[in-house]
Amino acid sequence: MSERYSTGELLAVLLARDLRDGETGAAGAAALIPMAAIMLARAMHAPNIQIAGEMFVNPRPRQLWDSMLDDRALGTCEASETFTELFGHSHRGLDFFFHSGLQIDAHGNINLHAIGPWDRPTLRGPGAANISYGVRSRRFYITATSHTRRNFVERVDFVTVPGNLDGPDSRARAGLVREGPRYCLTPRCVFDFDPETLRMRLRSLHPGHTLEEVVAETGFRFAADPEPATTVPPSDDELRVLRTVVDPRGALAPGRTARH
């Protein structure tokens, strides 16, 4: 187990590496890790990333917050919009977006609404503000801050945001034409999606984690190389920029999110 970085820092670094210069995206509701990723990408290799779609354009947060949707969190920004623009952004879609979930399933579907029967759930979750970005954005990322059989399930009880539904045919029938979920990042590993089945498969194990552990903690079967790749851990440079430029208050720091 490394003490060099927290889970939050690791996930932010991994996400940042996949964001390209010139793209437009937004952090979503659980904003802490995604916003860190966007700001880190901007500082490292993608200065022309545009942040838009959530009623503000190119915010300048002074520090990271759990949510991005208020004046305190955004600091200042280049333009503020109102919810009437939500239709336009939903129509155009973003290049990238982020989701987390109460439940996440083998096909990358997201449940934020209810566990158990819909009309009498055992757990009623928060629901979601905007479900259209998962549909219309060119791709999205799933981030999970815990990874157990309780939240990684074969099929979600409720599809708040569709990932790959039940596979390629069901995606096509539902009219899902974008890439959908690209990666699912957890405290243990990175999943991507098998192009044939659109089910999760193991892409890499984070340093210090084992295939046996991920199998034991995941509530569905997934394809994996018998000797899986190891996630490339954050470099000293990535951690330095993350801690000095993006997150000087240490919202992601070890002890704040689970130590890796």
Binding site: S67, F87, S132, G175
Partner: protein, 312 residues
């Protein structure tokens, strides 16, 4: 509403008139729509007054993100149905909402932002529905009572319609406003407030500070909700507390946390004593906003929220 100099009717009401005004515009079972979002710009003082009126079986709408205030309304037993996209304190669940749904006491419909925003747009524009093209594959669409698939008259792309949402009562909070109901948001984010004002049948707004009409005339572009859409305006210092009203004061996170802790303790224990005591102390007990501020520990206790807002 009394005639002011020149005969133009003022929409300014005093704090004691809020309850009677809400009772004039609302009734049991009416639809109520709340402005702001999550922990910013929520009309919480008006929500407390709404609870005090005793109006019940409310059908609750909001901008796409709501938390403390809707949980308070539900804790007070005033809500029958919710049409709310995201209900969360952002760092934790809303205990009363969650408990009431899980016990089957309220109906919480599967709604998303485009449902509410589209419905308000249709109402504001005087059309029966708003088409929505950006939905696919979600149970929110199939279970949403306000979403129906429709055929486009001009093509064959898959479409849905959401019906016009015309709330009986819209409650808003702004930083400033004049006696004619012109509202001025000084905050960066204004969310869906202007849209709700145009869509609602009756609009009641609180402002932190009443300003003279001349101040509005000097900066018409600063008016975020025109007075023509507002039925009554009331000056309530800290009217959004415990949510933020930037740049005047920041959100009172610890106050919201304390509520969430006791509501959650009550939910787990299956007990209503905790929220009953809370409602008595902060909602039903205080005679007016000044009493409420006293219950918080006085103005001095709120100074850090003003300092945090100024620092931003």
């Amino acid at each position: 509403m009394t005639p002011s100099a020149g005969g133009r009717h003022s929409k300014l009401i005093g704090a004691a008139e809020i309850g009677p005004t809400l009772l004039r515009f609302g009734r049991d079972g009416c639809s109520v729509c709340l402005g702001g979002l999550f922990k910013q710009g929520r009309p919480v003082a008006l929500v407390r007054e709404l609870i005090r009126t005793g109006l019940s079986d409310l059908r609750l709408f909001s901008s796409p993100g709501s938390g403390y205030d809707v949980d308070l309304l539900i804790a007070a037993g005033r809500v029958a149905e919710t049409f709310l996209p995201a209900v969360t304190l952002e760092n934790r669940f809303c205990p009363s909402f969650r408990g009431a749904v899980e016990r089957g006491e309220i109906t919480a419909h599967a709604i998303d932002a485009l449902t509410v925003v589209g419905g308000l747009m249709a109402a504001a524009h005087g059309v029966p529905f708003q088409p929505v093209a950006a939905w696919a594959g979600s149970d929110v669409t199939s279970l949403n009572p306000l979403a129906r698939p429709i055929a486009s008259p001009f093509g064959d792309e898959p479409l849905y319609a959401v019906p016009a949402i015309r709330p009986d009562l819209v409650l808003l909070h702004a930083q400033e406003g004049d006696e004619y109901g012109n509202l001025r948001n000084l905050s960066t984010m204004t969310y869906a407030d202007a849209l709700m004002a145009r869509a609602g049948q009756h609009v009641v707004a609180s402002v932190d500070k009443l300003v003279p009409n001349e101040a509005i005339l000097r900066d018409p572009r600063g008016t975020t909700v025109a007075g023509i859409y507002v039925d009554a305006v009331v000056e309530i210092p800290f009217g959004a507390h415990p949510t933020a009203s930037f740049p005047h004061y920041s959100m009172d996170e610890s106050f919201i946390e304390r509520f969430a802790d006791l509501a959650e303790a009550g939910r787990r224990a299956g007990s209503t004593a905790e929220v009953t005591a809370y409602l008595e102390r902060f909602v039903l007990g205080p005679a007016d906003i000044f009493d409420y501020l006293e219950a918080l520990g006085g103005y001095r206790a709120l100074a850090p929220l003003e300092r945090e807002a100024r620092f931003l």
